[in-house]
């Protein structure tokens, strides 16, 4: 592959590179961070990358909303935008519920570090006073 075609590929696939980077970064945060809030942040980044996956191919440069008029000939596909509007709502609901759970976990355990929570539970089991 010559340098020119490589840069062409890079250019035309630019949004995909960003998407995949965000996707993997988000997933990595979820897996590697023990802090429950940071995990939710990672989950948010992961979900946001999918919005980009849908929106980027649907957007044409110079395209407008699909308006029935002779003045406009280049349209962006509105359907992915609508789908992602739904996905954003779902994402917000998930994040809200996740944060609410973290609040309750902090009340019950007095910590939001995964390792501490697991340690406290196994201590409680060892002492035989787990409810």
């Amino acid at each position: 592959m010559t340098g020119a075609t490589t840069s062409m590929t890079l250019g035309s696939h630019f949004t995909y590179f960003i998407t995949i980077f965000l996707m993997v970064a988000g997933l990595f945060i979820v897996i590697s961070r023990p802090n429950l809030i940071k995990k939710l942040i990672g989950l948010g980044i992961f979900q946001t990358s999918v919005y980009l996956l849908y929106i980027a191919p649907a957007k044409l440069i110079g395209g407008t909303a699909p308006i029935l008029s002779n003045a406009f000939t280049v349209y962006s596909n509105p359907l992915p935008h609508v789908l992602i509007l739904t996905a954003i709502v779902v994402g917000v609901a998930t994040l809200a519920l996740g944060l609410a759970l973290v609040v309750r976990i902090r009340e019950a355990y007095d910590t939001i570090e995964e390792d501490d929570i697991l340690a406290r539970d196994s201590n409680a089991e060892d002492n035989g006073n787990a409810t």
């Binding site: 979820v30 979900q47 996956l53 996905a87 998930t94 539970d121």
Partner: protein, 494 residues
Amino acid sequence: MNLAPHLPALQVVVPLIAAPLTVLLRQRSVAFAVALVASWLALAISLLLWWQVANTGIISYAIGSWPAPWGIEYRIDRLNSFILVLVAGIAALVLPFSRASIESEVAAQQHYLFYTMFVLCLAGLLGIAITGDAFNIFVFLEVSSLSAYVLIALGRDRRALFAAYQYLLMGSIGATFLVIGIGLLYLMTGTLNLADMGQRLASVQGTRPVLAALAFITVGVSLKLALFPLHQWLPNAYTFAPSAVSAFLAATATKVAVYVLLRFYFTVFGESAVFARLPMQQMMLLLALAGMFAASTIAIFQTDLKRLFAYSSVAQIGYIILGLSFNSVSGLTASIVHLFNHGVTKGAIFMLLGCVALGVGGTSLTRVQGLGKRMPLASFGMVIGGLSLMGVPGTAGFISKWYLLLAALEQGQWWLVFMIALSSLLAAVYVWRFVEAAYLREPHQNTTNVAPTPWLMSVPTAILVLAIVYFGLDTSFTMGTASEAAAALIGGSR
């Protein structure tokens, strides 16, 4: 007004409307009544739909009169009418059970919200099963999942919170993987209607985005259906959730996810594409076997019955996936029948555990010592459920295992027959642990008095236990529907 043509929409709309109603009414007995009516109506509608499909064939319903493939289509064939009956049936039995069961497990001021979440979860699960639109599946999946997380977090043990949080993380990752897969398919086909997508995929079959979509959807849905080794969220979630929630989710949530996998594999991708270009058959076979053995082995060493049977669920999912991996009509029939029979069996077992938890104050193996004397009916029911898990003739579990064995023989895989028998033996070991504690041990000293089981709990539980035996003897409903559904999936109704 004639409501009959709108039954497909009502199937989802009735529980969906009931959910905000229960919030607004607040009174917990009124909320219970609303939820109960909604779940029984849902069952009636699902039976009517099943009957209609059996007689007149596939029903297609255009939401808002927007014709498919532009609008959202509800499409009901043999397979999903069967799933709808399972989900609505279990919900209609678990809901009356839950009224007495949550009395001791959930704070009284949260009861009406429990019913809200329950009918919302029901609406989501029914929606996944009924819809013919890929993105709609994701939306309903999240509706059912978000309400399931809340239901699990209602458990009185603080570990329920962390279990719900972990399920939320894993579930959201799974759902997002599914959306990525659907997005790639949409990019390649320009449609979201499942049947339409299946037709258009034929021209782009084997391209890299389609294979990537297959991988993403497989992983995403496998997380949801708790395929070994993606089952990490399941044991804690089922153990610490309130009993009624464990019963409902164990019987329906993972089963609906299996349905989604079947739908994508056979209606959208088509079996030739799934199994020809990637070594899916071998992979599924391997994961199914690993699940059957690893999860059963872990189950043997559990000290809490709820956790024991949660691991058993992971193992039973293995049987369902094993049938799928054969890629034959008989294998799929076995999968679909097992999906139903295992749903009924696990629902009954977790409801019985709810009765036991109420009666003797817990479900650990030390608590249930001498249960055979103190709660003879409940322990007898547990034994029937256990026999069904092992696959003893006369129970529902036998039917599905028998057809799974036949399907394995049809493949000429003798060693698989041996493996299925061996893993049933593991099931016998963990069921024996309960039998030993319940019948051969003397009752624990400090738990002498047994709380009586309210009839609202015992009657639905008894119905489901009897259903285990009934579906083990009369297979016309289960086998009839499943074999036709499997033939339609493989035969290319697309």
